[in-house]
């Protein structure tokens, strides 16, 4: 067999590689975990990489997956070889077109990294619930279980669809396969040519819509013929399995890798057989090999082609001796007779029996079970558990495996100590921080060993759900044989802890083998490190007889000029200690990899990395383990003993990374959780925190406003409350006439601060003696932690100012309000969260929030904790996420329901006037709730009402009590990013704006899809590089505000906190008070912009100074007083656009790599900015009657929205 290159790829790249070679039109849209497939395709086309026929595929990002599917449908109809990539909710959006594409017998392949569908919660992780939801579409469903299979089946799918004319969905498990890096054999053009028949391609093109030979397709049909026409496709589905098998056979002849629709492995006379598909089948394969080697008569059928389901072939794949078939589904269908694969297998066997099939002496018993939802681990031990269950006389059916179901008692038991990995595999686990480069270095290691030695390699990476200070765990395997272990490392030879703070937070040594290695990055010297370890860690090291190594990687990195990047150093340690390669050879290869990776970045970067490698070996020390000394301190509790019970019992396990151990009974039934939980998750991720200099401070509260994590707060309070203050607590006389006689404190939450430095950057006060110092200055956190923790605790207990007396429309006044959004897991220096925090301060006690999927839904609602919190009275924002695409509609639903219930409550109040009393009823019905004071009084009235109703035992009273809270003003907020507002959710957003209902829409505009890694949206500026716009976005940013203003009855504002903070605060107050739809476009700097996040607010100012971002307010209420509704709050641009663009890497990348294109785009953008400012200025000018010259409709077009017919 011909030798092909061996490469290290992940599943997404493997699929994209084939798809790009075999397509000419590709429509894409980002969604985890499939986004990288689109990114690769876009990049390769941008690099002019041609397809098999020598033309560069056209790659187009659409506004949603529904859009992508529509575009693909169109491209297919007009003769293109078209493909797309998606997962989960994206696949759901494609369903209507999938029915059409299949119904029209159109060859195509959709590549899907299978992901959980959102139900009680969203999950980005892998299972097959999405794929199962399209099994009725008529698409063939082809499963891959490993990265090599992804590559191979991708080609098989593209080849087979052309012949079968049945469209294919090629799927593989999200993350487990899509993101696993593995050494595989690549396919080349000869393989592609041998597999893809050009005659079939031409036949596809010949069926295309073409005015030279016009056809009519997509007709509407009547009852007379639809049915018959639908049945006309049957022969194609009947032929499809044979075509796929023939294609697989051809592939086997070419490559030597043989696949079948149903591949059996195991004992030839197996009595118990598992049937399953996807990556779990690889773990099962490993378990079956292990068990059959020990004489067990067990087997496994791996399903490749799930649709069309060839029942006959399935039956033939089963050994004749089989007694029990256990079918494992990676999905859940509540209310069904069983999950889909189970039902298919059962049907196939019954049909076999009904048609007098005689393969088996006795029809095997079939049991079905669920496993692996949302990437839940699926291990050989679980496989053994299933087989053991199958061996019982009365095996459990409809079971689950991998969890403890103590509610329905469906789960089966298994022995988690069973390990089936072969002895010649070397496994390693690395615990790192996202920012320290651990994952990148480990990917590099996998590549080095995979591509430069004979060894097989596997790398899999686990991330937590925080964006700042996130923990990454890398699982690496190296072996002499192909690795099928599609589960996390359980028997590590080597465990590295790259952050000493993890010692107190994570159990890292429970999976290291006896005699294994533990490497710790610590500033403690080798002869003193032992006593610094928690007792639990000492005990593990002693009990497992580990070799223990230490290095002060941060010092080495600093000395080598690497800053905080310890990746190269820790990678060198691994190679030096682990022995996977001879040390000298390993060092040489690391340096080779460094040169390869960084050569283009300049000799300086290469030299720094080389220095790091060289200095590592001199600083790596083995620690003599004092086996009798296990007397260290105990680990601190994960959450405070003062936390609520759920936090201590359940949330704490999740924080520890032990959520897998929680039973079903620990979970809420319907996805409902308490808010106010982030306060208990003290992460201590800041190296430095701000320290207040009371003398220099001018008490402007700007630092409080911009803090993304609500970790710096201000209070003014009576002096006598200071009596019990801790000794280091700082206070000074409050400034300002409203605060006379009060003390003022600016306090940092040391354990919640991320150390981003935004507060220091925004601080306008400078120390007069030493101008480098401000009123707050960063200082190392560790020495301050204890004292400031106590200070912060004391600070929180200080009384709040009465919000009714504060000038909440100003920065200073608003920032004395209690934030009801705190300590989120957003990026350090996030540009979005200050807006949310401000909203929570102003309106949080009465806010109902509909949050579009995106960054804000992840840092807002991803377990284990939420930053949304409550005030002392227990009131606070209530929050939910529906989907990515429907946040506006979801929020409108809130408004409709609240208004209806309030109306009902008012009706009941009126009906019960005599019982309740005129005074209270009248007061409630006429309540002015336009401000805090009115709301507070109304709350008191509602409490009184409830008290009176409680004494009435009538249905009406109880009904009124049930809706009485709706009489308190509600502030409905619809929150999302630009991907939602400008693209996928625009239709709904537009509809809600047109509805005239009182909702507040906050668009956190980062100008890219931030959450999925920075893909272009229609908000992306012209000239900026983004994923899906690798050559710089050629079109101008969509002017969403202008579009919204066209309605005339919508409050529209554009703000940038860093440019004008008072304007931002004032806008929020105005927008919320507007009794109709309000739209706030909030410029949010972002990590994806390629900026120093510490300077994020300055970037916002620059964006406004150059005119890229405008500040304005359009308030329809002003027309009533003869004023122009539009107020342009920006000054004329006075910073050259180039100066702004030069300060952000998203523009610089193009300016440096393609100056001509960058210059052209910049010139166009400069013109557009100038023209836009001129237009806004013209519209903001008043004419004789005070109205805008280009007056927009003054009548709210409330009824302009017709329902779709």
């Amino acid at each position: 067999m011909r030798k092909r290159p061996l490469v290290t790829l992940d599943g997404n790249e493997a699929a994209a590689y084939v798809a790009h070679r075999l397509s000419d039109v590709i429509a894409i849209y980002p969604i985890t975990p499939s986004s990288p497939m689109g990114e690769w395709a876009d990049q390769w086309s941008a690099e002019n990489r041609p397809n098999l026929w020598g033309t560069v595929p056209s790659v187009t990002e659409m506004q949603s997956e529904a859009g992508a599917a529509g575009a693909i449908h169109g491209a297919l109809q007009t003769g293109a070889l078209a493909t797309t990539f998606t997962a989960s909710q994206g696949l759901l959006l494609m369903i209507p077109n999938m029915y059409k594409i299949a119904g029209e017998l159109t060859p195509t392949v959709f590549h899907v990294s299978a992901r959980t569908l959102a139900t009680h919660a969203l999950s980005i992780f892998g299972d097959q619930s999405d794929v199962m939801s399209v099994r009725g579409t008529g698409f063939a469903l082809l499963a891959s279980g490993s990265v090599q299979e992804v590559l191979d089946n991708a080609l098989i799918a593209h080849a087979a669809t052309l012949e079968a004319r049945v469209p294919f969905l090629h799927f593989f498990d999200g993350f487990r396969t899509s993101h696993e890096v593995m050494k595989i054999e690549l396919l080349d053009d000869d393989d592609f040519r041998a597999m893809v028949d050009d005659r079939l391609v031409r036949a596809h093109r010949a069926r295309a819509m073409n005015p030279e030979r016009p056809v009519l397709r997509g007709t509407a049909q009547n009852p007379d013929v639809f049915f018959q026409a639908r049945e006309a496709i049957n022969p194609f589905y009947a032929a499809c399995p044979d075509i796929v098998q023939t294609t697989m056979d051809r592939f086997a002849r070419i490559t030597g890798r043989a696949y079948h629709l149903f591949d059996y492995v195991g004992h030839p006379e197996a009595e118990r057989v598992i049937v399953m598909m996807g990556s779990g089948a690889e773990a099962a394969h490993e378990a079956i090999d292990f068990l059959t080697a020990r004489g067990e008569r067990v087997g496994l059928v791996k399903i490749r082609l799930y649709r069309p389901f060839d029942g006959k072939r399935l039956v033939e794949s089963l050994p004749k001796a089989v007694r029990t078939v256990a079918v494992l589904d990676r999905t859940k269908e509540p209310g069904s007779l069983g999950e889909p694969l189970y039902q298919d297998v059962l049907t196939a066997l019954v049909e076999h029996a009904q048609t007098n099939g005689n393969r088996f002496d006795r029809l095997p018993r079939v049991i079905g079970g669920r496993y692996g939802l949302s990437s839940k681990e699926f291990t050989p031990a679980m496989v053994k558990g299933v087989l053991d269950e199958a061996a019982t006389s009365n095996p459990k059916n409809h079971f689950s495996v991998g969890i403890l179901d103590d509610v329905s008692h469906n789960s089966i038991a298994y022995d988690p100590t069973l390990h089936t990995e072969s002895d010649d595999v070397v496994s390693a686990v690395f615990y790192g921080l996202g920012s320290d480069g651990t994952v990148g270095a480990n990917k590099n290691s996998v590549k080095i060993i995979g591509e430069e030695t004979e060894s097989y390699t596997q790398g899999y990476f686990v991330y937590d759900s925080k964006k700042a200070g996130s923990v990454t765990v890398s699982h690496l395997r190296f072996g002499k044989r192909p690795i099928r272990s599609t589960y996390l490392v359980q028997q590590a030879h080597f465990v590295a802890c790259h952050q000493p703070t993890f010692l107190d937070r994570l159990e890292m040594l429970d999976k290291v083998i006896r005699g294994g290695v533990f490497l710790l990055n610590t500033a403690e010297p080798a002869d003193r490190v032992w006593s610094s370890l928690p007792r639990e860690v000492q005990a593990q090291i002693v009990a497992r007889e580990l070799r223990f190594f230490v290095i002060d990687a941060y010092r080495v990195a600093k000395e080598a000029g690497m800053g905080g990047r310890i990746n190269t150093i820790m990678q060198t340690c691994f190679f030096a200690i682990s022995g996977v390669l001879p040390r000298d050879e390993a060092i040489e290869k690391i340096k080779g990899a460094i040169r390869k990776t960084y050569a283009a970045k300049g000799e300086t970067v290469v030299a720094k990395n080389f220095a790091a490698v060289d200095q590592t070996l001199a600083n790596l020390h083995e620690v003599r383990v004092p086996v009798s000394d296990v007397t260290g301190r105990s680990r601190p509790p994960t959450v405070s003993p003062e936390a609520p019970e759920f936090l201590r019992q359940v949330t704490a396990r999740m924080i520890e990374g032990r959520g897998d151990e929680l039973p079903v009974s620990a979970m809420p039934l319907d996805g409902t959780f308490s808010t106010a939980t982030a306060q208990w998750e003290k992460r201590n991720i800041a190296q430095e925190v701000p320290v207040w200099d009371a003398e220099t401070c001018i008490q402007c509260n700007k630092c409080v406003l911009v803090c993304p994590h609500a970790a710096i707060r201000a209070k003014a309070y009576p002096p006598d409350t200071l009596d019990a203050a801790p000794g280091t607590f700082k206070a000074t006389a409050a400034r300002g006439k409203e605060y006379v006689g009060l003390r003022y404190t600016l306090q940092v939450a040391p354990e919640d601060c991320t150390g981003c430095g935004l507060c220091v950057e925004i601080c306008p006060a400078k120390n007069k003696r030493e101008t480098r110092l401000k009123a707050i200055n960063m200082a190392p956190q560790a020495p301050l932690r204890e004292a400031e923790r106590e200070n912060y605790r004391f600070f929180l207990d200080l009384p709040e100012l009465d919000r009714r007396t504060l000038k909440t429309g100003t920065v200073k006044g608003s920032q004395f309000l209690l934030p009801l959004f705190e300590y989120s897991g957003a990026c350090a220096g996030c540009g979005e969260t200050p807006y949310l925090k401000l909203m929570s301060q102003l309106f949080g006690d009465r806010a109902v929030i509909a949050n579009a999927t995106g960054c804000s839904s992840i840092y807002g609602g991803n377990l284990p904790t939420t930053p949304w919190t409550v005030n002392a009275q227990g009131q606070g924002p209530t929050w939910s996420n529906s989907l990515f695409e429907d946040a506006a509609e979801f929020g409108l639903g809130f408004r409709l329901a609240i208004d209806k219930q309030a109306e009902f409550a008012r009706e009941l109040l009126t009906r019960m006037r005599e019982t309740i009393g005129d005074a209270l009823v009248d007061a409630m019905l006429s309540a002015d709730q336009s401000g805090d004071a009115g709301i507070m009084v109304q709350r008191e009235r509602v409490a009184e009402l409830k008290g009176r109703l409680a004494q009435l035992n009538t249905a009406e009273a109880m009904n009124l009590a049930a809706v009485a809270d709706s009489l308190i003003g509600r502030s409905v907020w619809i929150v999302g990013g630009d991907g939602w507002a400008y693209d996928i959710g625009y239709g709904g957003l537009d509809h809600v704006l047109a509805s005239g209902h009182n909702v507040n829409i906050l668009v956190l505009d980062t100008e890219v899809y931030s959450n999925t890694g920075g893909q272009m949206s229609k908000a992306t500026p012209c000239g900026a590089v983004a994923k899906f716009a690798t050559a710089g976005k050629p079109s101008q940013k969509k002017d969403l505000g202008q579009m919204a203003m066209a309605y005339g009855n919508v409050y529209v504002a554009s703000v940038a906190m860093g440019a004008n903070d008072n304007h931002t605060v004032q806008t929020f107050v105005e927008a919320e008070s507007f009794p109709g739809p309000s739209l706030i476009l909030a410029y949010s700097h972002c990590i994806a912009h390629g900026i120093n996040m510490r300077a994020g607010m300055k970037q916002q100012a620059a964006a406004v100074d150059c005119g890229h971002w405008l500040l304005y307010r359009f308030d329809p209420r002003r027309t009533a007083t003869g004023l122009n509704p539009l107020q342009l709050d920006s000054h004329e641009p006075h910073l050259p656009l180039k100066a702004y663009m030069s300060s952000e890497n998203r523009y610089q990348m193009l300016m440096q790599s393609d100056p001509k294109r960058a210059g052209d785009l910049m010139a166009r953008t400069q013109d557009a900015i100038r023209e836009r400012f001129r237009e806004y200025a013209r519209r903001a000018k008043t004419d004789g009657d005070g109205k805008a010259p280009a007056a927009t409709p003054s009548t709210p077009p409330t009824h302009a929205v017709a329902s779709a017919s």
């Binding site: 980005i124 990047r565 000799e603 970067v605 983004a1026 994806a1088 193009l1150 790599s1153």
Partner: protein
Amino acid sequence: MDLATNYLGLRLKNPLVAGASPVSRDLDTVRALEDAGVAAIVLASLFQEEVDHQLAAHAHFAEFGAYSSPEALTYVPARDYTPRHPDAYLEHLRQAAGAVDVPVIASLNGATAGGWIEHARMIEEAGASAIELNVYHVAADPGRSAQQVEDLYVEVLRAVKNTVGIPVSMKLSPYFSSLAHFARRLDKEGVDGLVLFNRFYQPDIDLNELTVVPNLSLSAPHEMRLPLRWIAILDPLIEASLAASTGVYTSHDVLKLLMTGADAVMLVAVLLRHGPSIVADMLHGIEDWLHVNEYLSVHQLQGSMNHRACADPSAFERANYVKALQSYCG
């Protein structure tokens, strides 16, 4: 009138050279300079610090925030966006060298030896007639002696001279303890020419922000006297070519500098202020003066008033200061 001169071993049709400045960043302006009569063009500098900074920034942002979130493994496309600054500079150099007949000299601006060799080689390959090294060093480190500072310059010179075959000049600052000694040292090391002097960005203070802001002001005419003195002193001492830079605005300035021994005169501020067309006027002025004063060539003029040739050599030394004061007081 023979205006020709020899600078760095290059025969120039006249002594006027467009010095390194943003003027030469545009190809059309490069052509206009030649049309106006300059005899050579020093291109705007390739800033080593800028290149290093851009590469480092690019490397930083390519990995910034990467592998922290399962949904956003990276934030920038995987495509190679390595800054093309050297490429762009070299391309400009290539085009400029092809667009004009006069020699095009590349300027390399930096503070350390690392990375210069590579850039120097690329500059030679791109068609530069010579390289002007602008070692940009503010001697603010109290731990580094004058000797060590000078060694840095020599190290750079050696490295570049060993790398390229084209002439190499060095642009110096006036802040050396013993400039004459140092100039002779460089001369012995084989420098092909010295350009006197470069101008540093001088810091200013923003009173509103209480920040230090860099500032560059164009030289004023009176500043020409500094190179004038030093060219006069150095001309008899060293073999290498001498070029005057700083404060040259008029034909008379040029004539004076030629008399003290300049082989070429760099025009910067005057071009930035008045554009290339001023060159033709200056050339006319030089020719007229030479003609009126019955000189036959520039060569005849060059060095005629240097430290050795003039009637009162001490006037270029300390006595000059005293005399100036006296004349001012008088």
